[in-house]
C-alpha cells in the first residue's frame, strides 16, 4: 500500500515539476543566446492563465476535438507514471513496460492528429500529416534503442532495466553508447524540438506540432501544453535514469529518496543544458531532411543492437 502511495507521490511530483524543467530549458536557452530570460516559473503562470481563460471552438469541431486534450494529458501522465523518477520498483512501474509506454505516447499522438483534422482547415491536416510521418519514423528507432537495453537487461520493465544498470556497476557497453545517442535524437524529434520542429514559431510552412493545436485555446490548450512539457520530461528522465541511474533510490528510506530527488534534479539540469546547446548550434531542418535524420538515428540504434549481439553476448 505504501508502495502505491509512493508511486502516486512520485507521479504527482513528475507532473508538477514538468513545467519547471521546461522553464529551466527556456531560461538556459535565453542565457545561451544572450537574451533576457523569463523566470523559472513562467510556464506555471502561462498554464494558470490559460486554465482561467474561456474556450473558443471552431464551428466544425466535434467531440473528438474536445476530448483530445484530456486523452493526451492522461496518456502522458500514464507514461510519466511508469518511468522511475526517484525510486525503483514502485508498483506503477509494473502497470506498463517500455513498449506500453511507447503505446501511450502513440495513443496521445493519434488523438492529437485526429484533432488536427477535425476542424477541416489546411493547417490541421498539414500538421497531422507531418506529425504522423515523423512519429511513424521515430517509433521504430525508439523501440530499437529500448530493445538494445531490454536485451542486455533481459527485461522491458523500466525499473528492472534501471536497477540492472544500477547494480551492474560501471560496465562500459558500446551498445549503450549507440543507444544513448539514438535515443537522444529520437527524443528531440518526438518532443518537437529543433531541428525537427520549432515550438517557438508559428511559421505556416514549418510548424508541425503547433499546426495541430492551432485551434486550441483556454484550458484545452493548457492541458496540451502541459502534456507536452511532461512528455519532454519523460524522455529526459528516461535517458537520465537508464544510462546514468546512479543516485536513484532502490529502497524507500527518506535519505535515499532525498538523494534520489537530488540526483534526478542534477541530471535533468545537465541534460537541459545539453539540449539547449544542441538546439542553439542546430538549425531547423526542411521537412524532407527529417527522414535522413531519423534514418541516421535508426542506424545508430541498429548498430547498438548488433554490437550487443556480436560483442557483448557472443559468448553464451
Amino acid at each position: 500500500m505504501i508502495g502505491w502511495a509512493m508511486a502516486a507521490v512520485q507521479c504527482l511530483l513528475f507532473v508538477a515539476t514538468a513545467p519547471l524543467f521546461a522553464g529551466w530549458i527556456k531560461r538556459v536557452k535565453c542565457r545561451a543566446q544572450n537574451r533576457a530570460a523569463p523566470s523559472l516559473f513562467q510556464p506555471y503562470r502561462d498554464l494558470t492563465k490559460l486554465l482561467r481563460k474561456g474556450v473558443v471552438l471552431a464551428y466544425d469541431a466535434s467531440w473528438i476535438f474536445r476530448a483530445t486534450p484530456y486523452v493526451v494529458f492522461t496518456t502522458t501522465v500514464l507514461a510519466a507514471a511508469v518511468v522511475p523518477l526517484i525510486a525503483l520498483r514502485l508498483p506503477t512501474s509494473a502497470i506498463a513496460d517500455v513498449i506500453v509506454l511507447v503505446g501511450f505516447l502513440g495513443l496521445g499522438r493519434f488523438f492529437l492528429a485526429l484533432a488536427g483534422m477535425d476542424i477541416g482547415t489546411a493547417f490541421g491536416g498539414m500538421g497531422s500529416s507531418r506529425e504522423m510521418m515523423i512519429g511513424a519514423l521515430a517509433e521504430p528507432v525508439l523501440l530499437m534503442t529500448v530493445f538494445t537495453l531490454a536485451m542486455s537487461a533481459s527485461t522491458t520493465n523500466l525499473s528492472e532495466a534501471v536497477s540492472f544498470t544500477l547494480h551492474g556497476g560501471l560496465v562500459i557497453r558500446p551498445s549503450f553508447l549507440f543507444a544513448l545517442v539514438g535515443l537522444m535524437m529520437v527524443a528531440v524529434a518526438e518532443t518537437g524540438r529543433i531541428p525537427i520542429d520549432n515550438p517557438a514559431t508559428h511559421l505556416e510552412l514549418t510548424m508541425v506540432h503547433e499546426a495541430m493545436i492551432l485551434e486550441y485555446s483556454g484550458r484545452y490548450l493548457a492541458l496540451l501544453e502541459w502534456a507536452s512539457m511532461i512528455k519532454l520530461m519523460v524522455y529526459f528522465v528516461l535517458i537520465a535514469n537508464i544510462f546514468a541511474p546512479w543516485g536513484i533510490a532502490s529502497t524507500t528510506t527518506p535519505t535515499t529518496l532525498a538523494l534520489g530527488v537530488l540526483a534526478i534534479a542534477l541530471k535533468l539540469m545537465l541534460l537541459g543544458i545539453v539540449l539547449v546547446l544542441w538546439e542553439t548550434v542546430m538549425a531547423k531542418m526542411r521537412l524532407f531532411r527529417v527522414p535522413q535524420y531519423l534514418g541516421f538515428a535508426f542506424l545508430l540504434s541498429l548498430l547498438g543492437m548488433l554490437t550487443h549481439v556480436i560483442l557483448e553476448s557472443g559468448g553464451h
Partner: protein, 674 residues
C-alpha cells in the same frame, strides 16, 4: 451430447440458410430474415461449441458416410479448430445482424441482382469455412476448402456488371485454385509417406528433412496464397472490396484466418519435426507482408481497398508470430515458442474482430453515402455518430494502441522477439530484433494510415453532396458494429483471461501450456515472468475511464465555451476543398518510401488565355501500381499467351499436315519400339 453436435448444428444452420435463400427471388423477406437468422443461429452454435472444446480440451472425432468409398469424411474437433470456430462464429453472428439492413441497398435497385445467388453463396461459404475447420482428412479438407473458395468467388463476382469486378473475380478464383492445388500437393507428400489421407496417418508419417521441407514449402505457398502474404497478395485488394461489404468482412476477417488455421494445423500438428529455416522464411515473409501491406494501404483512397491492404499487413504480423514460434520451438525453447504462438493466435482473433468491424463500418458508410472514395467523404461523425464511434474503436484497435486488443497481441509479439537472446545462433539473435523494428514501423505507419482514414472520412467537412446527405444506418447494422467494438475493448482490457483460455492449444500442439502468463491473476499479464515484462490493461483502462468521466463532468458543467470560425489565413470562408485529402495526407510518406511503389504522377498546367504567364488550371493525376504485379504476374501471363500461340501453330487447318502428324507419329513409335 458432445461439442461435435454443436458444430454439426452450426454446419446445418449455414446449409439451411443457403437452401432457404433459394426462394429469395420470389420472397426477398426470406433472405433478409430467414436465412440471416439461420446464419446467426449457426454462428452462436459455432461459438458455443468452440468455447466448449477450447475450455474442455481433448479431440472429438467422427466419420460421415460421405466421400471416397474406402474413406468416409473424417471430422475432428479439437481446441485449435474450436478457437477458429469461435472466430468464424463471432463474425458470422455479427454479419447476420448486419446483413438484413445492408440488403436493403440491393432490394431497391433498378437492375436487381439475384438475391438467390447472394444468399446461397453466403450460406455455402460459411458452411465451407466450418467444414475446413472440422476436417480431419485431406479429401474433405480440400472439398471444404474449395467449396469456400468457389462460394466466395460467386460473392466476389456478385456485382458482375462491372468488368473490373469480373476481372477481380477471375484473378481471385485463379489464385485460389493455384493455392488449393499447392496445398493438395502438400497433403499429397504426407499422404504418400504416411500412406493415408487421414490426418492420423499423416501425423504418423515419417519424412526425410528434404521431403518435410518440400511439404512445408508447398503448404506455405498454398496457405500463404489464400492468406494474402506478399507477394501472393495481389488478388486480395482486388477481390475483397468488390464483394458486398458484409461479405468483405467475412472474407477479410475470417477466410484469411481459415488459411492461417490451415498453416498452423499443417506445420504444428501434421508435419511433426519443425526446422528453424521454415520459421525464418515465415518470419521474413511475414515482416515483408506487414511493411508492404501497410505501405500500399497508405496509398489507397478507396476505403475498402485500403482495408483489404491492411489485411495483408495484419496477416504479416500473424505470420511473424508463427515464424517466431517455429524458430523457438525448433530450437527447443518451448516457453518462447508458446508465447509467440499465442501472440499469433491472439492477433488472429483480434484482427478478425477489428477488421470485421472496420469493413462493416465501411459498408455502413457506403450504404448511407454511396461513397467508396475517401476523398469524397468528410464530416461523417456529425451525420453518423454511432458508426463514427464504433469505427474509431476499430481504428484504435488496428493501429495497435492501448488499451485495445490490437495492442495486446502486438505487445506479445514484441515480447516474443525480445526472447531472441536465448537462441544459440547469433544470426537469429541479430535478425529477430530487426524484424521487431519492422513490426514497430508498420504499426506506426498503420496508425498514420488510420488517422488519415478517420480524419478524412469522419472529421472535417463533407466533401461531396452524397456525404452531406448521409444518414445514420439502421439499428441492426449498428448493433453488429457495436458488438464487435465491445469485443475489441473487452479482449483488449482482459487479455489475461483470453490467454488463459487459449492455453489448451499449445497444450495440444506442443505438449505444455503457457507457463506463467496468468500466474499473477487476471489483473496482470506477465508472458514470461513479472520481472521480465508485465502489462496491466485493466488499470490502464481504468485511468482512461477516469479521464472520460472528467471529460463528461466538464461537458456537463458546460464551462464557458464560444463557437467561432477557424483561422483561415485571411481568405474569407474555410471551404471543404481546403482540407487535406487522403492523397495529400500520405504524400510525405509517399516521398520517403517512393521506391516501394510504381508511382506515375502527372501534373498538367494550362496557361491562362489572357496572360500566358499565369496558370489558369492545374490537373494532377496520380496512379500507384503494385510492383509485384508488373514484376511477377504480367510476365507469367505473357508466357502462357505466347506458349498458347506457339502451340496453336500445329492446328494449321490443312488436312495434309494432320495426315503427316499421324504418319510421323506412327513411324516414330515404330522406330522407338523396334
Amino acid at each position: 451430447m458432445s461439442p461435435l453436435v454443436l458444430a454439426y448444428l452450426a454446419l446445418l444452420g449455414a446449409l439451411a440458410s443457403a437452401a432457404l435463400s433459394l426462394g429469395a427471388e420470389r420472397y426477398p423477406g426470406l433472405l433478409r430474415y430467414g436465412s440471416f437468422a439461420l446464419l446467426g443461429a449457426s454462428g452462436i452454435c459455432a461459438v458455443l461449441g468452440g468455447a466448449w472444446v477450447l475450455l474442455s480440451g481433448g479431440r472429438h472425432s467422427a466419420e460421415l458416410a460421405l466421400g471416397l468409398p474406402w474413406l468416409g469424411w473424417q471430422l475432428a474437433f479439437d481446441p485449435l479448430s474450436g478457437f477458429f470456430l469461435i472466430i468464424v462464429g463471432l463474425l458470422v453472428g455479427a454479419v447476420s445482424l448486419y446483413g438484413p439492413g445492408y440488403m436493403r441497398g440491393y432490394l431497391h435497385r433498378r437492375r436487381r441482382e439475384s438475391l438467390v445467388a447472394l444468399g446461397t453463396a453466403t450460406g455455402l461459404f460459411v458452411a465451407g469455412m466450418y467444414l475446413v475447420l472440422l476436417a480431419a482428412d485431406a479429401f474433405v479438407f480440400m472439398v471444404a476448402w474449395e467449396l469456400m473458395s468457389v462460394a466466395s468467388y460467386f460473392l466476389v463476382a456478385y456485382q458482375h456488371q462491372h468488368a473490373a469486378n469480373r476481372r477481380a473475380a477471375l484473378l481471385y478464383l485463379l489464385m485460389a485454385h493455384v493455392g488449393a492445388l499447392a496445398i493438395l500437393l502438400g497433403f499429397g507428400v504426407l499422404a504418400a509417406k504416411g500412406n493415408g489421407f487421414t490426418f492420423e496417418a499423416m501425423r504418423a508419417a515419417t519424412l526425410s528433412p528434404t521431403w518435410a521441407s518440400i511439404a512445408f514449402a508447398l503448404a506455405f505457398f498454398g496457405y500463404g496464397m489464400k492468406a494474402g502474404m506478399v507477394p501472393l497478395h495481389v488478388w486480395l485488394p482486388e477481390a475483397h472490396p468488390v464483394a458486398p461489404s458484409h461479405i468483405s468482412a467475412l472474407m477479410s476477417g475470417v477466410m484469411l484466418k481459415v488459411a492461417i488455421y490451415g498453416l498452423v494445423r499443417f506445420c504444428f500438428d501434421l508435419l511433426g519435426e519443425l526446422q528453424w529455416q521454415w520459421g525464418m522464411t515465415v518470419l521474413v515473409i511475414g515482416a515483408a507482408s506487414a511493411l508492404l501491406g501497410v505501405l500500399y494501404a497508405l496509398m489507397q483512397h478507396d476505403l475498402k481497398r485500403l482495408l483489404a491492404y491492411h489485411s495483408v499487413e495484419n496477416i504479416g504480423i500473424i505470420l511473424m508470430g508463427l515464424g517466431l514460434s517455429i524458430i523457438f520451438l525448433a530450437n527447443d525453447h518451448q516457453v518462447a515458442g508458446i508465447l509467440a504462438m499465442l501472440a499469433a493466435l491472439y492477433h488472429t482473433l483480434n484482427h478478425a474482430l477489428f477488421k470485421g468491424l472496420l469493413f462493416l463500418g465501411a459498408g455502413a458508410v457506403l450504404h448511407s453515402s454511396h461513397e467508396a472514395d475517401l476523398n469524397n467523404m468528410g464530416g461523417l461523425i456529425r451525420r453518423m455518430p454511432h458508426t463514427a464511434l464504433y469505427f474509431l474503436v476499430g481504428c484504435l484497435a488496428i493501429s495497435g494502441l492501448p488499451p485495445l486488443n490490437g495492442f495486446v497481441s502486438e505487445w506479445l509479439t514484441f515480447q516474443a522477439t525480445l526472447q531472441a537472446p536465448v537462441l544459440a545462433s547469433g544470426v537469429l539473435r541479430s535478425i529477430l530484433p530487426v524484424t521487431a523494428a519492422v513490426l514497430a514501423l508498420s504499426a506506426a505507419l498503420a496508425a498514420a494510415c488510420f488517422v488519415k482514414v478517420y480524419g478524412v472520412a469522419f472529421l472535417g467537412q463533407a466533401r461531396s453532396r452524397h456525404t452531406k446527405r448521409a444518414r445514420e444506418v439502421e439499428i441492426g447494422m449498428r448493433a453488429a458494429m457495436a458488438a464487435l467494438a465491445l469485443l475489441c475493448v473487452l479482449f483488449g482490457v482482459f487479455p489475461t483471461t483470453v490467454i488463459g483460455a487459449l492455453g489448451s492449444i499449445p497444450l495440444m500442439l506442443v505438449g505444455q501450456g503457457p507457463p506463467s502468463a496468468t500466474t499473477e491473476g487476471w489483473l496482470w499479464l506477465t508472458p514470461i515472468s513479472p520481472e521480465i515484462a508485465s502489462y496491466s490493461a485493466p488499470l490502464v483502462a481504468l485511468a482512461l475511464v477516469a479521464t472520460a468521466l472528467v471529460f463528461l463532468f466538464v461537458r456537463w458543467r458546460a464551462l464557458p465555451r464560444r463557437r467561432a470560425y477557424p483561422w483561415e489565413c485571411g481568405f474569407g470562408e474555410v471551404n471543404p476543398r481546403m482540407q487535406y485529402t487522403a492523397t495529400a495526407f500520405s504524400m510525405p510518406i509517399r516521398r520517403i518510401f517512393a521506391p516501394v511503389w510504381d508511382v506515375e504522377e502527372r501534373i498538367e498546367e494550362s496557361a491562362d488565355s489572357v496572360q500566358p504567364a499565369q496558370v489558369a488550371s492545374i490537373r494532377h493525376q496520380l496512379h500507384i501500381h503494385d510492383r509485384s504485379w508488373l514484376r511477377i504476374y504480367e510476365p507469367i501471363g505473357r508466357l502462357v499467351i505466347t506458349a498458347a500461340r506457339r502451340v496453336g501453330r500445329i492446328q494449321t487447318g490443312s488436312i495434309h499436315a494432320y495426315l503427316v502428324y499421324s504418319f510421323l507419329t506412327l513411324l516414330l513409335l515404330l522406330w522407338v519400339v523396334t
